[in-house]
């Protein structure tokens, strides 16, 4: 068997995974497994109550929908072996592959967990993860720079807004985001960053009175 439609192949798998995940979490593991887990000292959660058609429990709707999604995913998946569309139209052109995605998620999760243990908050891990992934993208996956750096810029902005204030974090966002583009001109980006920082302080903090700190916390 040969995959004739790459897009449908992966889309089908994605739908099956999402559908099964939602349905299985809703239903929960079998009672015997939960009991076994208890004895081994693990915390395994039961599923949600299913209820009946008259009084639907919280598990009812998601289980039905999750099952339906998995079935539709299976249809898309099977269909991908019989597609007659030209190869060029069905090839997936992603800037990263499944392994990259897994590494990315793992880096964020690991650093967030570490930071939670050391500092008591996951925030620093999120920022460190963004920096690590940006570096990895620069070295190994230049094509994935847009997605990694755009995501990183948003994360850096969000997690630095409270400690560093709006001015510094928006300047950082503009620089990191600009690195994700095709042409990077330091002078132009610098001007843009300063203009945007001033604009957002005037409009959002002064004008619309959003409760953002303007300057870094350590300066006050």
């Amino acid at each position: 068997m040969q995959v004739k439609n790459e897009k449908d192949f992966w889309a089908g798998l994605m739908f099956i995974a999402f559908g099964l995940a939602f349905a299985l979490i809703a239903v929960g593991p079998p009672a015997a497994l939960v009991e076994l887990g208890r004895q081994l000292g693990w915390k395994i959660q039961y599923g949600y109550p299913m209820g009946s058609a008259v009084r639907m429990g919280p598990a009812y709707f998601p289980t039905v929908l999750g099952g339906l999604l998995a079935v539709l995913g299976a249809i898309v998946f099977v269909r991908s072996f019989f597609s007659k569309l030209p190869r060029a139209a069905t090839a997936v052109q992603m800037s990263f592959n499944l392994a990259d995605l897994a590494i990315g998620v793992a880096v964020y999760a690991l650093l967030a967990w570490l930071s939670k243990r050391v500092f008591g908050t996951a925030d620093w891990g999120m920022m460190a993860g963004s920096v690590v992934l940006a570096a990895l993208a620069f070295v190994y996956r230049p094509k994935a720079k847009p997605i990694v750096l755009i995501v990183a810029s948003a994360m850096v902005f969000a997690y630095l807004l409270k400690p560093l204030g709006l001015v510094a974090s928006s300047i950082l966002l503009v620089f990191v985001a600009a690195l994700g583009g095709h042409e990077y001109r330091t002078k132009e980006v610098a001007i843009l960053a300063v203009v945007l920082a001033i604009f957002s302080v005037l409009v959002f903090v002064k004008g619309l009175t959003l409760p953002f700190p303007v300057w870094p916390a350590f300066l006050q």
Partner: protein
């Protein structure tokens, strides 16, 4: 009829009400009386045109960004402004389509076909004028349609029970699937994925925390704004960046705007047909500006005497879809104002805006808050008038804006998105979720799974579950209740017919053709 005139009068009164502003200036208090709602309408129209002109920023992202800010505003003014952004974007979108051959707005995709060809033949001016005048006519007409049709519909809607609501939402979701490009199965799967994601958080009936993985921020569910910004905003920026920038701006000066007598003769019927069709398609759940413009172009190509000129700069090919998208944008407020059901992502944001102000959307709004309801309708007409002025004499300003390169634009958009999302709850976690949906949206785009049906499913998920549960409880678990109640049965039948229609082989081929031609 007389009642409508009186109520529209009330609406205009609301729009033109002067509000006193006290400014502290150099120790003295300056009291200025300003027509606050007219100002809000102007701001909305300006912003709408701006983001309509700029490719890559849509009304969904803009309204989502502004949503948290409207908290501090008066409800009528806030909704008037947000509505202005949506229909304003329909005006702005055509400018980019005609001059750059890029859809400034997704609903202007079809305008590119003939509008750009007109511009290449040195007829950019008449094309722009046609788009603006057609939109204006359609806007005025659609305002009337909303005023006439909303009240009786709301009366009917008051009688709706949970079964009717559930079936209506099914119809809406099916309509969203029809709208989607490409594979039908994938579109349905995306709707279901959206429904499931909408269930994350505390279950209202039992208080059980679902799919929250012990994260406290997820107890209230995933915010719609966050999902929309990720799926539309972030994903779009990334896909734009992956393609090298190749924008050819029509820098030649746009001269002689006014269409010739011959142009007027040819565009009139197209504008009329576009307006009627657009108004009708806008009312459908799942409808709105996008569906309207596609529908109008296809219809025009069928019935026009100049069908052979389509694709080579036929003025009908600009007039019809541009009138239709504006009409559709406005009439899509009807399901929102009468049923409390959003027919597209923008309307879902409007629900969000109403909720922020403590207004539960639904048929009772018209009775309880006539000023809000009629004020909003009257503001649409005022807004359309402003937009013609903004878009015809001031067109040069918008053309200049088109020369701003994308590399300066996207960090700006990103910053505003970040500020908007962060301000929702002053928590970086929302931005994390936005990033998650950005990556998911990117993957979906690459796998040709449309995000639009997913978003609609996401909005309707909790509502649907709630109504399904109530209907089943009332019917003692008898699922036949959905076909026994006549209105509910009619909705389900319509959904079935719609599904059968697109699944039928020759119509499916046609549908694929329409989408292929236009991409």
């Amino acid at each position: 009829m007389e009642g409508i005139v009186g109520k529209l009068g009330l609406g205009f009164e609301v729009v033109f009400t002067l509000k006193q502003f006290d400014w502290e200036l150099f120790g003295t208090t300056l009291a200025v009386k300003l027509p606050f709602n007219v100002l809000m309408c102007l701001i909305g129209a300006l912003l709408g045109t701006l983001i309509g002109v700029l490719p890559g920023v849509g009304p969904v992202a803009t309204i989502a960004m502004l949503l948290p800010i409207t908290f501090n505003l008066d409800p009528i003014g806030a909704l008037i402004m947000l509505a202005g952004i949506y229909y304003g974007a329909q005006y702005g979108g055509s400018t980019t389509a005609i001059l750059v051959n890029l859809p400034g707005e997704s609903s202007s995709v079809v305008t590119c076909l003939d509008g750009y060809q007109m511009a290449r033949r040195g007829r950019a001016g008449p094309a722009l004028a046609t788009a603006a005048l057609g939109s204006f006519f359609a806007g005025c007409f659609a305002t009337l349609v909303v005023a006439l049709f909303a009240p009786p519909l709301a009366e009917v809607a008051l009688k709706f029970g949970p079964a009717e609501y559930f079936s209506l939402m099914v119809l809406g979701l099916v309509a969203a699937v029809v709208l989607a490009h490409g594979s039908l199965v994938k579109a349905v799967a995306m709707v279901i994925l959206g429904l499931l994601l909408g269930l994350v958080g505390t279950d209202v009936n039992s208080g059980v925390l679902r799919f929250a993985f012990g994260i406290p921020e997820l107890a209230d569910g995933i915010g719609f704004v966050v999902v929309a910004m990720g799926m539309f905003g972030i994903a779009e920026i990334v896909t734009n960046l992956e393609q090298a920038e190749k924008r050819e701006v029509f820098t030649k000066k746009v001269s002689h705007l006014w269409p010739t007598r011959e142009d007027f003769r040819r565009m009139m019927p197209a504008v009329l047909r576009g307006t009627f069709l657009g108004s009708a398609l806008g009312i459908l759940p799942g409808g709105g500006a996008l569906l309207a413009s596609f529908g109008a172009y296809t219809l025009e190509k069928k019935v026009s005497r100049y069908a052979h000129e389509f694709g080579q700069g036929a003025i009908e090919g600009v007039a019809a879809p541009e009138s239709a998208n504006n009409a559709g944008a406005q009439t899509s407020f009807i399901p929102l104002l009468t049923l409390g059901i959003p027919s597209n992502a923008v309307m879902a944001l409007m629900i969000g805006a109403m909720m922020i102000q403590g207004i539960a959307p639904g048929p009772q709004v018209m009775e309880q808050r006539p000023q809000l309801f009629w004020g909003m309708i009257a503001s649409m007409w005022v807004g359309n008038l402003m937009l013609v002025i903004l878009n015809l004499p001031l067109i040069g300003m918008w053309i200049k804006l088109l020369t701003v390169p994308y590399r300066l634009l996207y960090p700006t958009i990103l910053l505003f998105m970040g500020i908007g999302v962060f301000s929702l709850s002053n928590n970086p976690f929302d931005v994390l979720i936005m990033a998650f949906f950005g990556v998911l949206g990117y993957i979906c785009v690459k796998l040709e799974c449309e995000p639009a049906p997913m978003i609609l499913g996401f909005i309707l998920g909790p509502l649907m579950e709630e109504n399904l549960r109530r209907a089943m409880l009332l019917a003692r678990g008898d699922a036949l209740v959905f076909v026994q109640k006549p209105i509910s049965a009619a909705f389900l039948l319509a959904a079935l017919v719609l599904l059968a229609l697109i699944a039928a082989p020759n119509i499916r081929k046609k549908r694929e053709q329409v989408f292929v031609e236009e991409t």
